[in-house]
Amino acid sequence: MWTLTWKGLLAAKARFVMTALAVIIGTGFVAGALTFGDTLQQGFDRLFTSIVGSADVVIRAEEPEDGPGPGPTAAEPASFPPEVVDRLDALEEIALVDGEVEGVAIVIGDDGEPTGQFGPPTLGYSAFVHEELDPAELRTGRWPDTAGEIAIDAGTARAQGWDIGDDVGLVLDGPVERPEVVGIFGLGELDNLAGASVVVLDRETALARLGTDGELTAAYAMAAPGVGEAALLDAVRAELGEGFRVQTAAEVVAEQQEAFGPFVEVFSIALLVFAAVALLVGSFLIFNTFTIVLAGRLRELALLRAVGASRGQLFGSVLGEAALVGAVGGALGAGFGLLVARGLQAVLGTIGIELPGDQLVVLPRTVGVAIAVGAVITLLAALVPARRAVSIPPVAALSEVAVAAPSGRGWIRNVLGALLLVAGVVALTATLLGDAGPTILGVGAVALFLGVAAMSALIVRPLARLLGGPSAALGVSGELARANATRNPRRTAATASALMIGLALVSFVSIFAASLQGTVSETIERSFRADAIVQAGTLAGVPPTALDAVAEVDGVEVVAPAAVGQLEVGERTITLAVMDAAAVPAVFDLDVADGDLEGLTAGGLAVSESVASDLDLVAGAEVAATVPGGEATFPITAVFDGGGIDVSGFLDTAAWEDAGGSVSSAFNVYVRFGADADAATTFDALGSVLVAYPQVLVLDQAGFAEGLAAQLDQLVGVVLALLALSVLVALLGIVNTLALSVVERTREIGLLRAVGMTRGQVRRMVRTEAISVALIGAGLGLALGMPVGAVFVRIEQLNITSLVIPWTQIVVGVALAALAGLVAGVLPARRAANLDVLEALYSE
């Protein structure tokens, strides 16, 4: 039977190619996700190793517990005096030691805007005295010697088009200054890390102006020859005593890896979700291809049965073919995965995220997984068509009339589908009416999806009829196209499934995002009394001098700076606005459900309703929380409706300082204008005094709402990527199915041509069918995604109060689907139109 399998494969290169293509697409994304993850992992490993440079131990000041983790996220990093380095230098176990200052330095681009707004970190470092210890490597120029000179990372230099000798904008602790670039460096093999900008200052300037009050944040030491790691560690610890963290290079690397591990993992998981979607859709494609291909071979299979092949032998042969095609497709898919991984890097690169890893890391595991997944998926997808095909009676070989495979048990599928649909609708209704959570809704959504998939045979027809109106206007080509799209509804539904999934996701997430945005703007209008908000565009906060400038603007009545604080209560993190309690009512119009805001002045805590319900808190209760200084207990003074506000609690400045928190950098400054001040004039005046501070943003209420909403754009971006993927897969799927359908209908097309259908009409017929299939997919997707999205935003825990249907995005999604159909139809349509009439008429 193996001979048969081989011959079967070789005899029909076209069907081999079509099936393999479907497998390649599916497995390619799996291989791509794995390769990308491995590359990222290796890149980070190398980066962390190179960041430690040639140092053997790294010394940092002990950080408060539960403080910021590794990486420069704190406005005030733990630090120690420079004398510590001298003490270390005196140790005979140490050959070389150098100190480092790490802080925030904001690079201002030539357009006057900070380069890393709301985004990656903006880091400032001191230059090393001993270059051997410096993890950064100069590419050109030299390290800065004096104030007014800086070195900058190669990534930022390239992005801004800067070179040695350029004067560039920089903000340290005051307004913008323009130092000269004297050096450009890289970090190991990287130009840049994840888009962060890195500036190196001369030692004096760094000590004075990176916010460490003349102290160092780290020291790197190299062991003297012959001194072992343990001996070095012991010597350093003995010399420094308590209050320092002394780690070996390996420990630092491990710690960094641990810190970035979840990031790499989340990234890989997200990619594998994409891959799973691609694979799911790909398996529909494979299923379709096998069904069509086997339908075209029925007579051949019947003949084999007639000459004595058993059902089992045929079944084995067909499945063997499936497994072989799947494995070969998987192997090629691994190759395609390299392109996918490169493409991902390129896409992330263009949006400014440069991730480590130049050389793609292709592990044998990746290739193995791709081949195994390809073989298994293809085998599974071929199971049903193969079973159906081999049940052909041998006598069919002798019959002159067209043979059709016995159809499956449709009614079981339909009943099952109907039950699933009902279950889905019940779950949705329960979520809408009761307090069923997201899990029930999720189960309902899956039930709906499977129900629609199972009942596609019944659903596709009416949908096609709906689309039939416009396509019938194309005359008989349109009518035939509609008829063709419904002649095998399950095939059509399977072909359309990629777009169905894509559009379902898009409509779901865009409804969620738009409703959230709508709620945010609504709440901001309702709960803000401030006329303007000055926001720190970077992690450094709003400089105090900027605060003074704002206070002096004519018409400004209240200036209320708020720092960000975090409380941990059990697993729950409460993000606080830390500000002068007296100013809270002046700039917020909080809807207090329980208690009052008076108690804020006395050190009470106001929390949002969602925090209160999570932690079971009421006004008058007390809550024990982890704070920067350790543990503290706060009385709850008020519970407010916090929907849409990006803070979940308020605390007075004094109370936060008592708890050991820092209030030195304000991230949001709420500004209220006087009653008699003209809002527009005052806002403009505010804008003009803040021109000197490009690192801050000044927004009115609408602008603030937009800024908050912009954070959701990333979510929307991910969804659009999913849409793009589904459109791509759908495109290939439609091409594949339609091309095979054209082959299958060769004789019919010949007949149509004979009785007077022109080539143009044939082309139009196939293209219209392609667009119909695409629109059916889009329609099914919307029918699934929109109700689920609309019900989802009603889930109470989400605190979303308005339902917004973003019609523009939905229309764009449908238009993209139609475009995919249009493009997908081109090749099969050309093929159909170019068929020779006579050959087609007398083909088997």
Partner: protein, 251 residues
């Protein structure tokens, strides 16, 4: 284009060929499927073409019907020289002036009988002439089957739908390619009677390829082909007469 007047015997020929030649392959493998045939098909006539496999009868028919292009020579349908036509014009000529009845797979499976019948008119974006449509549907006895799809029709009914489709445009000529080849005896004879009627009462012109002496005997005349040439001709044929000629040709 005007709808042709009902045919009269005085009309110009429905189709004619002059030195029609069709060659397949080259050199050693060259096959002269049709070798210099000149013939005239009068309007309102019923012609049968017979001959052994490979005699060129199908090729002759395909060239006559504008489905295939001759290597040399001329084919005219209703006075139009087919060699001057590009693909689109040729397609439109087939649509308007030629009707087809094939041996099998005559109908588009997704369309109902009615839709199949009016397909050529619809392809030309024209509505069928209602009176003519009723006339042929009545004559073919399809009145109650119009809403059915091909899969719901018997073989004989399918072939009658195909005849109706062939007649709906009142073409210059209707080509049959073994139209009764797939039918049982009774259905076959019914169909032959219908073809005869459409010539006698509807003044259509029919050319049909057949192996069946009974089918050939319903025609006005029979051409016998061998090796790409017309080797014999029989007017007012009978079944026995046809069988005699066939035997004569085989010996």
């Amino acid at each position: 284009m005007s709808v042709p007047e009902p045919a009269t015997r005085a009309r110009p020929p429905a189709a004619e060929t002059v030195e029609l030649t069709k060659v397949y392959g080259e050199g050693q493998a060259e096959v002269r499927a049709v070798d210099g045939i000149s013939l005239t098909i009068p309007s309102g006539s019923y012609t049968a073409v017979m001959g052994p496999s490979g005699s060129g009868k199908s090729t002759l028919l395909h060239c006559l019907a504008g489905l295939d292009r001759p290597t040399s020579g001329t084919v005219r349908i209703g006075g139009t020289d087919l060699s001057t036509l590009k693909d689109k014009a040729l397609t439109e000529l087939r649509r308007e002036q030629v009707g087809f009845v094939f041996q099998a797979f005559n109908l588009v499976p997704t369309l109902t009988a009615r839709e199949n019948i009016v397909l050529p008119r619809k392809l030309g974006r024209r509505d069928p002439d209602a009176a003519w449509f009723d006339a042929i549907v009545g004559a073919l006895g399809l009145g109650d089957r119009l809403g059915h799809r091909p899969a719901e029709l018997s073989g004989g009914q399918q072939q009658r739908v195909a005849v109706a489709r062939a007649l709906v445009t009142q073409p210059q000529l209707v080509f049959g390619d073994e139209p009764t080849g797939n039918l049982d005896r009774t259905s076959g004879q019914e169909l032959l009677a219908l073809l005869r009627t459409s010539v006698d009462e509807l003044s259509q012109t029919i050319v049909t390829v057949t192996h069946d002496p009974v089918a050939a005997a319903t025609a006005d005349r029979v051409w016998f082909l061998a090796d790409g040439r017309v080797v014999d001709e029989l007017t007012a044929p009978t079944v026995d007469g046809v069988l005699d000629r066939i035997r004569a040709l085989e010996h």
